[in-house]
C-alpha cells in the first residue's frame, strides 16, 4: 500500500471522529426523546451547543491552576488519538501500529486521571465528589475493559486491533462463544465509562447522583466545549471499538476507494443501530444507586474473566 493513501485515509478517519461524534450523541438523544414521546431538538443539537460554548467568554475560578486550563485540550487530544488508532474504515492504516488495545485502555485511563485532577483543582465540594466517584468507577471499569479485550486477544493471538479485526472478520466465519461474555461485559463497561444511565445520568445536575457532570461544573465556554466534545468522542470511540470487536464486518482490509465507501456505509448503519440500541437501554433502565455501581462493574469484570475461561474450554 502506498503510504500517502494510508495517511490520507488516516486523516479522513480523524476528521470523521471529530465530525461524527457529536452527531452520534445527537442521534442517541433524539432516539431517547422519541422513545419518551417527546419531540426533541433534532440530531444537530450538539453542534449548536458546541458553537455556542466556543463563542462565550471563559470564566475561570481564581485559584484555577494551569493544570485546570490544560486538561480540556489534553482530554480532547487523547480521545482523538484513540479514535485514529481504532480501525474504523480500514485495518491497515499507518497509525494503528502506534498503540494496541492495552495502550488504548491506557489512553482512556490517562484522560480520566487528568479530568479527575482538574476536577479537584478548584477545591469545591462537587468537583471533589465527582472526581472520587469517577476514579471509583474507573478502577473497576478499567480492569473489566482490559479483560474484555483479552478475550479477542487470546483468540487472535494479538493485542493489535487491526490483527484482531482481520482475524475476526476476514478469515472464515467462526462463532466464538467467549465473545458472548465479552460483549455482555463490554456493554456494561460502555455504560459506566461514558456515564450513561444505569450508572450516571448525562443530563442531570442533581447533586446526589452526579458523577461526570460534577467534575465539569467549574468549566465554562471553550473549555467546557472541548470537554463535552471529548466525551462525545469517547462515546464514539467506545462504539467503534465495540464494532471492531463484535461486528467487524465491513471494515476494509485494502485501500480501495470502493471498499472504503462500503466501510463508511457500514459504519453509518452500525452507528445508527447501536445508537438506537443504547437509547433503548437507557430508556428501559433506571439509574442505580452509587453503592450498587461497584456490584455492577464487578459483575462486568467477572463476566469478562469468564469469557477468557470459556475461550480456553471451548475454543482452545
Amino acid at each position: 500500500m502506498t503510504n500517502l493513501y494510508g495517511f490520507i485515509f488516516q486523516f479522513i478517519q480523524l476528521i470523521m471522529t471529530l465530525v461524527l461524534s457529536p452527531l452520534l450523541l445527537g442521534w442517541i438523544n433524539q432516539c431517547r426523546y422519541w422513545l419518551q414521546n417527546r419531540q426533541g431538538p433534532g440530531v444537530f443539537q450538539p453542534y449548536r451547543q458546541l458553537v455556542k460554548l466556543f463563542c462565550k467568554d471563559a470564566v475561570l475560578a481564581d485559584n484555577a491552576s494551569p493544570l485546570f486550563r490544560m486538561t480540556p485540550y489534553f482530554l480532547f487530544a487523547c480521545m482523538c488519538l484513540a479514535g485514529t488508532i481504532v480501525p474504523v474504515l480500514a485495518t491497515n492504516l499507518p497509525f494503528a501500529s502506534v498503540a494496541d488495545v492495552i495502550v488504548l485502555v491506557g489512553i482512556f485511563a490517562l484522560a480520566r486521571v487528568f479530568l479527575a485532577l482538574a476536577a479537584m483543582d478548584i477545591g469545591t465540594g462537587f468537583g471533589n465528589l465527582g472526581a472520587r466517584r469517577e476514579m471509583m468507577i474507573g478502577f473497576l471499569a478499567e480492569p473489566a475493559l482490559l479483560m474484555v479485550l483479552f478475550t479477542p486477544a487470546f483468540i487472535s493471538h494479538s493485542t493489535a486491533l487491526t490483527t484482531i479485526v482481520d482475524t475476526l472478520s476476514h478469515t472464515r466465519f467462526i462463532i466464538y462463544p467467549s465473545m458472548a461474555f465479552a460483549m455482555a461485559s463490554y456493554l456494561m463497561v460502555l455504560l459506566a465509562e461514558n456515564s450513561r444511565i444505569p450508572v450516571d445520568n448525562p443530563s442531570t445536575h442533581l447533586e446526589l447522583t452526579m458523577i461526570h457532570e460534577a467534575m465539569l461544573l467549574e468549566y465554562s465556554a471553550r473549555h467546557l466545549a472541548l470537554v463535552e466534545w471529548a466525551s462525545s468522542i469517547k462515546l464514539y470511540d467506545y462504539f467503534v471499538i465495540g464494532f471492531a470487536l463484535f461486528v467487524p464486518w465491513g471494515i476494509a482490509s485494502g485501500n480501495h476507494l470502493s471498499s472504503m465507501l462500503l466501510a463508511f456505509l457500514a459504519l453509518f448503519i452500525k452507528l445508527a443501530f447501536a445508537g438506537f440500541g443504547l437509547a433503548i437501554v437507557e430508556t428501559l433502565s433506571a439509574k442505580m444507586r452509587i453503592f450498587r455501581v461497584p456490584e455492577f462493574l464487578g459483575t462486568a469484570f467477572m463476566l469478562a474473566v469468564l469469557g477468557t475461561l470459556t475461550h480456553f474450554l471451548l475454543e482452545a
Partner: protein, 219 residues
C-alpha cells in the same frame, strides 16, 4: 475445525452459563423467573440443534417437552404463584454479589478442569459443553445456598435440573425418553407441591424468609 452446528452449540452453551451467572447475581424474583425461562429456551434450542445434526428423533420430543415445560408452563406457574403470594417485587437484601461471583468463578475453573478428561472420552458433537453444564450445576447449587427466600431457592433447584439435562445431552445425547419424561413429570409435580407449600409456609410464618424455618428444629 468445528462444524457450524458445533459452534452454535458452543455459543448456546456460553449463553447458558451466562444466564446461570446472571441468576446468581439477580436480586429480583420476577427477573429470576424470566432468566429461568430464557435458560429453558437455550436448552431447547441446543437440543434442537443436536437433534437436527445427529438425526436422533427422540431428541425432538425431548426438545418439545423441554420447551413446553420450562419455557411456558413452569414460568407461568411461578408467575401465578408470586402474584398470588404477592411477592413479585421482592428483593433479596443480603447478598454480597461480588463475593458470590468470585466463588462462582472458582467453581467454573474447577468444573472446567474436572470435565476435561471426561470430554476426551465422549464422542458427541457437543462434548466440550460438558464443562459448562457441570459449572452450571455447581452455580445453581451455589445460588440455592446463597438465597434466603423460598421462591428463589426453588428457581435455583429448577435451574439445577436444567443444567443436569444440559449435561446429559452434551455427553450422551440425552437420557432415555422414559427417564426424561419421568423427570419432566417430577419437575411439574414438584413445582405444584412447592407452590402449595409456599402458601402453607406463609400462613404459618407470615413470610417466605427461610430463616423462620429454623424454628422448626426441635430443641
Amino acid at each position: 475445525m468445528i462444524p457450524l452446528s458445533g459452534q452454535l452449540l458452543n455459543l448456546l452453551a456460553a449463553v447458558f452459563l451466562l444466564i446461570a451467572f446472571a441468576m446468581l447475581a439477580q436480586r429480583r424474583i420476577l427477573s429470576l423467573i424470566h432468566l429461568y425461562a430464557y435458560q429453558g429456551l437455550v436448552l431447547s434450542l441446543s437440543t434442537l440443534i443436536v437433534a437436527y445434526s445427529t438425526h436422533q428423533p427422540h431428541l425432538y420430543y425431548s426438545m418439545l417437552l423441554n420447551f413446553l415445560l420450562k419455557v411456558l408452563i413452569v414460568p407461568w406457574i411461578l408467575h401465578r404463584l408470586i402474584h398470588r403470594l404477592n411477592v413479585q417485587w421482592d428483593v433479596e437484601t443480603l447478598l454480597n454479589i461480588p463475593t458470590t461471583m468470585l466463588i462462582g468463578l472458582a467453581l467454573v475453573i474447577f468444573a472446567f478442569n474436572l470435565s476435561l478428561p471426561i470430554v476426551q472420552l465422549a464422542g458427541t458433537i457437543n462434548r466440550s459443553t460438558l464443562g459448562i453444564a457441570l459449572a452450571s450445576v455447581l452455580l445453581s447449587f451455589l445460588m440455592m445456598i446463597t438465597r434466603s427466600k423460598a421462591v428463589p431457592q426453588v428457581i435455583g433447584f429448577l435451574a439445577l435440573e436444567n443444567s443436569l439435562i444440559f449435561a446429559a445431552t452434551s455427553i450422551t445425547y440425552g437420557m432415555p425418553m422414559m427417564v426424561e419424561l419421568g423427570i419432566a413429570l417430577d419437575v411439574l409435580v414438584g413445582v405444584f407441591i412447592l407452590g402449595v407449600f409456599f402458601f402453607h409456609i406463609r400462613n404459618q410464618f407470615d413470610s417466605l424468609e427461610l430463616k423462620h424455618m429454623e424454628k422448626l428444629k426441635d430443641n
